[in-house]
């Protein structure tokens, strides 16, 4: 039975923060992520032209190059690209966080079961199924599934989740199958603990650090795949802005109206870079080696 010690908890939080902040680049990543989240949440208040995030048309100001009034320029309908990018951060964040939230419980659960029943037919069946899914890269599988569903943000998230969960199952399986042989698991078994107790109370807590690390590192990749889906038109549909769609729409007007696709492209790079730097920091923080 664990007793809750406030002081010890606070100390470990302090140590984690210290470990994270040791690397200045991770701190920069943290503030970049914070920036993206704030912009996404408060887009209606922060965007210079909130109305331009929808089906807005102003042909008088169409295809304007970057200026003070429109720092990122305007698109062919005369909509402010900066405002649209700010609103598009919302879809990108929902994509990244939503997919991770969908696949982690499924993947971890499946991996735990396979790890617990290591060496039995349950293990074999589950792990061969994950092998089948990862034969094709997540991007290809997600494209195929997304194409056969109606193109919406939610369906594109489902498609990415469908292709991505096996990686969490495999990671958890690797951890769980080695933790399963530890002495404390055997001790729990000897005292007659239930299977559920062993799987969730004994094995799971010892698998969490790499799972959290992988989550933090992968939000950026999920956003990248999501942007690729919306680039080919399989994500959020117009007039709602999506970063990938904005890049592909602007590509038709290259090279003269380069700003239409260049700034959304830079925004994609910014958001993925933010989560990557942040993820590196989380990895350093959760790595067990002591300071």
């Amino acid at each position: 039975m664990k007793t809750f010690n406030l002081n010890a908890t606070w100390n470990s939080v302090k140590r984690s923060i210290y470990k994270f902040s040791r690397n200045k680049i991770s701190v920069v990543g943290f503030f970049m992520v914070l920036f993206v989240v704030i912009v996404a949440i408060f887009a209606p208040f922060l965007a210079p032209y909130p109305k331009h995030a929808g089906a807005f048309v102003d042909y008088k100001n169409a295809s304007q190059p970057p200026s003070l009034a429109h720092p990122f320029g305007t698109d062919v309908f005369g909509r402010d690209i900066l405002s649209r990018v700010m609103f598009a951060f919302r879809g990108a964040l929902i994509m990244g966080l939503g997919v991770i939230a969908m696949i982690v419980p499924i993947g971890v659960f499946v991996g735990l079961i396979a790890g617990y029943y290591r060496g039995t037919w349950i293990d074999t069946v589950i792990m061969r199924i994950t092998d089948i899914f990862i034969t094709l890269p997540a991007l290809i599988l997600a494209l195929a599934v997304a194409a056969l569903l109606r193109p919406t943000l939610f369906n594109s998230m489902m498609a990415v989740a469908f292709a991505w969960w096996p990686w969490y199952a495999r990671l958890t399986y690797g951890m769980a199958s080695s933790v399963r042989n530890e002495v404390f698991v055997q001790a729990a078994e000897t005292t007659g603990a239930s299977k559920a107790h062993i799987i969730f109370k004994e094995i799971l807590p010892n698998c969490l650090a790499p799972i959290f690390t992988k989550m933090a590192l992968e939000i950026g990749w999920v956003i990248l795949v999501g942007a690729t889906l919306s680039f080919v038109g399989l994500g959020e549909q117009p007039p709602t802005p999506a970063l990938g769609t904005m890049v592909s729409d602007g590509a038709k007007y290259l090279p003269h109206q380069w700003w239409i696709s260049l700034f959304p492209a830079l925004a994609i790079m910014f958001i993925i870079l933010a989560f990557n730097l942040f993820g590196d920091g989380v990895r350093d923080m959760l790595t067990t080696e002591e300071v």
Binding site: T135, P137, I140, A144, T228
Partner: protein
């Protein structure tokens, strides 16, 4: 365990996984879209025509019968008709695959030479400004989606400094080389057609570069970190003590050792090249198998989707096994261990 029995085991496992993949793709193509016959004929076709096609496509039979019919014709080399091209899918695959193959091959060369070279440079001058530049480039490479690279390269080298063509495989005025392998660069080289060789190579460079950028950055990072950690090893200190020049240590002794982790992830890299090609070929309008697959996906061309994806699945499985064999061969620790057991 000898290398041969290792190979046999891997192949047996691969067959099981590929059968599973065929079931998965069959289910995706049959269950998700609702009614394949309706998709084939479009929303305005009359109901009796859809009904007739449904019978013709065996959609009225139970799912396992449909799978059996599909897989048995597939084993005879028949992937069904493509809705889009109105030709057998296997003919389309034969026509489009060589283009993607030569593009990915060039990308793989760029990625290995660039990644390994940059990695060695960064390790040699570690913690200098050169290392910093390589690190920034590595981060940029990793966080930039392939389609963004494609658009940026198109903008810079296709429009602003127009030194490369912006689409297709060959310029309109250039005579096509006769089909030998289907790879235009190789065919024109074999027939001594230098004009066509140069022209087709120029068409390949931007798409291949767009594909190679992200994995190249990653390879450089892995190469650097594995070299830096090996630099502190005892045998390197011994070599330095014997007076072996630093460059020789780096290029001859260390790079070979550090190559192993870089090559181990190479199979993932090459597979990701084919995947990224789905979008990059679309941007450059490059008529390869990946663009064909992408168009099949966008047009819900079910036979073409499952055919192309299954062929890629077989290809990726073989690549993975091949790279594992190369690593096992290169790494004496793995090779000798196998022999001793």
């Amino acid at each position: 365990m000898s290398l041969l029995s290792f190979l046999a085991r891997r192949l047996a496992l691969a067959i099981v996984v590929l059968i599973g993949l065929s079931i998965l793709l069959f289910l995706i193509a049959r269950v998700l879209p609702g009614d394949p016959a309706r998709i084939a004929l479009g929303p305005r076709a009359p109901e009796y025509a859809v009904e007739a096609l449904r019978k013709q496509m065996n959609l009225d039979k139970p799912l396992y019968t449909q799978y059996y019919l599909w897989i048995s014709s597939l084993l005879k080399g028949d992937l069904g008709m493509s809705l889009l091209s109105r030709r057998p899918v296997q003919d389309d695959v034969k026509e489009y695959f060589p283009a993607t193959f030569e593009e990915v091959l060039l990308a793989a060369i760029i990625l290995s030479v660039g990644g390994i070279g940059l990695g060695i440079l960064a390790a040699k001058y570690s913690n200098s400004w050169l290392d910093g530049i390589v690190r920034i480039f590595a981060y940029l490479g990793i966080v930039t989606p392939a389609f963004v690279w494609a658009i940026m390269l198109l903008l810079i080298f296709g429009y602003w400094v127009p030194i490369f063509p912006i689409q297709g495989r060959i310029s309109p005025g250039v005579t096509l080389p006769p089909v030998i392998t289907g790879m235009l660069t190789l065919d024109s080289l074999l027939t001594g057609n230098w004009v066509a060789f140069w022209d087709t190579l120029k068409h390949l460079i931007l798409p291949s570069l767009a594909l190679a950028m992200a994995p190249m950055a990653q390879a450089a990072r892995i190469m650097r970190s594995s070299m830096c950690s090996d630099l502190g090893a005892d045998h390197v200190a011994a070599l330095t003590a014997y007076g072996v020049p630093e460059n020789r240590i780096l290029t001859k002794y260390l790079s070979r050792l550090s190559l192993i982790p870089t090559i181990s992830i190479m199979s993932l890299d090459i597979i990701s090249l084919f995947a990224a090609a789905f979008v990059v070929e679309l941007v450059f309008n490059f008529p390869g198998l990946s663009r064909y697959g992408m168009q099949a996906i966008l047009n819900k061309d079910l036979n073409a989707i499952s055919g192309v994806l299954l062929i890629f699945g077989v290809l990726f499985t073989l690549i993975t096994i091949l790279i594992d064999l190369i690593v096992a061969y290169l790494d004496p620790r793995i090779r000798l261990q196998r022999k001793s057991i």
